[in-house]
């Protein structure tokens, strides 16, 4: 049993699944467009929540939000289902495949056998598409992989019912209604406004102010936690920023690609300039990662080094503050 589905590799899983499912339904929309309209760009620092024994930092919004916002801004209808038992979850999935519907799933990464061991952590907000089933396997299109792959029935059960934070509970989703004409222009503007609001939010742990907060904390890390822990925290931060799924530079390059596409659709030259500026800011995030990696590579922690990267981060935050103010102006 196999349904027609074309796999496209993407940088980030949720955008990729959304873009692939919509393309499959005749709505040609790129990954950066999904990310931009869905207001995926974000920054949040949650020192009281620990991920892999380090404070949680995220460069994106909560799982599921990108696709949900995209859907409401383009008037698409997405059906989402969660299940309490694996049997029902499988039944519903098989039913969809029978009806020729490729289906998006939220899954845990730990039991994805096609990932390298090093990448198999208990992270539950990964997304993929199932587009077929054989006697032994499910046919999988995982957007971060170059080509399609498979999981055994047993493996798929495990990843759908992974436990812990953001437990997927078998969640599956697929578009059930797509309007003939979508109004990209107003959707883009809504998406940008939302992102500017998030990044300039008057909350200490969110957006630009969140980045500044982390910058202040970094200065204290080596004294407060000792070298080893401080280095670990820093390495975790770089992983959240650069690992597979971010497209590099904490999603800044995907966002810059979105602004470029948006400038053509809206006929707004200023957005093109802002796209270039976002690229440069992304490059600075990459420089920050290089400097941070020097610290944890040498396993030393001179306070100077921590102060130096904290300065770098602060300067990025200041540039982003100016950037998002300009962006807000450019579309109003």
């Amino acid at each position: 049993m196999q349904v027609t589905f074309t796999h496209h590799q993407s940088a980030h899983c949720e955008n990729g699944v959304a873009s692939n499912l919509l393309k499959n339904n005749g709505l040609n929309i790129s990954e950066p467009m999904v990310f931009g309209i869905g207001s995926g760009l974000f920054f949040v620092y949650l020192p009281f929540i620990k991920v892999n024994y380090a404070p949680a930092i995220s460069y994106r919004t909560l799982p599921g939000q990108i696709f949900n916002k995209l859907a409401s801004r383009l008037n698409l209808k997405i059906k989402r289902q969660k299940f309490s038992s694996a049997v029902n979850a499988n039944k519903a999935l098989d039913e969809n495949l029978k009806n020729n519907i490729p289906t998006g799933l939220q899954v845990g990464v730990y039991n994805l056998s096609y990932f390298p061991d090093e990448y198999r952590f208990h992270f539950n907000a990964h997304n993929l598409v199932v587009y077929g089933k054989t006697e032994t396997d499910y046919l999988i299109s995982d957007p971060v992989m170059e080509t399609v792959t498979t999981l055994t029935h047993d493996e798929l059960d495990k990843v759908r019912f992974a436990k812990g934070a953001f437990a997927p509970r078998g969640q599956m989703y697929y578009p059930i209604q797509i309007p003939k004409d979508v109004d990209l222009k107003s959707a883009i503007i809504k998406g940008i406004k939302n992102t500017c609001r998030d990044m300039l939010a008057p909350m200490p742990i969110i957006g630009v102010r969140g980045i500044k907060f982390v910058s202040r904390q970094i200065r204290k890390w080596p004294v407060k936690h000792g070298t080893k822990k401080a280095n670990h925290y820093l390495a975790q931060m770089v992983r959240m920023q650069e690992e597979i799924g971010t497209g590099g530079g904490g999603f800044r390059f995907i966002y810059a690609a979105f602004l470029q596409e948006a400038s053509v659709i809206l006929g707004n030259e200023e957005l093109k300039n802002l796209s270039k500026e976002m690229t440069q800011i992304g490059d600075s995030w990459r420089d920050f990662a290089v400097e941070a990696s020097r610290i944890y590579k040498n396993r030393s922690a001179k306070e100077d080094a921590y102060n130096a990267i904290a300065d770098e981060l602060l300067s990025i935050a200041n540039r982003e503050e100016i950037f998002f103010k300009k962006l807000k102006k450019a579309i109003s």
């Binding site: 892999n52 390298p116 590099g248």
Partner: protein, 134 residues
């Protein structure tokens, strides 16, 4: 980031022959996509995390051997879990799981409780009871 500057370092993806997709600008400054095999700063970040896990495993193993912790504690680390994740898998309160880290409490656990842990760690109850590492 310009396309020709996209790093192609050897990384953790290389051995599975995987490449990740990145957004970068071409010679006209237009965005395009390109593949990368890896980038050193994040390879180090990841190996740093893996070293960390291995240290935790070694420490847990030692604690079990000297009778300071139960094997549950060791297998939790081997499976890259923490207390929250393990409690969620076995469907018990965190404080209860934490109590099972004590060797004296562990010794009195019923087989049905042990089975919950064993299933989560994908090992047999026998293996969980008779702690041996190789």
């Amino acid at each position: 980031m310009e396309k020709e500057k996209v790093p192609q370092d050897k990384g953790n993806l290389t051995k599975n022959n995987l490449k990740e997709l990145l957004y970068a600008t071409d010679e006209n400054g237009e965005y395009t996509t390109t593949l990368s095999t890896g980038w050193e700063p994040k390879t180090i970040a990841l190996s740093n995390s893996i070293d960390e896990i291995n240290e935790r495993i070694a420490e847990a193993k030692m604690k079990v051997e000297i009778g300071e912790a139960s094997p549950i504690c060791y297998y939790m680390e081997v499976n890259k879990m923490d207390l929250t994740i393990l409690a969620s898998y076995v469907g018990m309160w965190k404080w209860r799981v934490k109590r099972h880290f004590k060797p004296a409490v562990f010794a009195k656990l019923s087989d049905s409780i042990l089975k919950k842990y064993a299933d989560t760690f994908e090992i047999s109850v026998e293996k969980l009871k008779n702690f041996k590492t190789d």
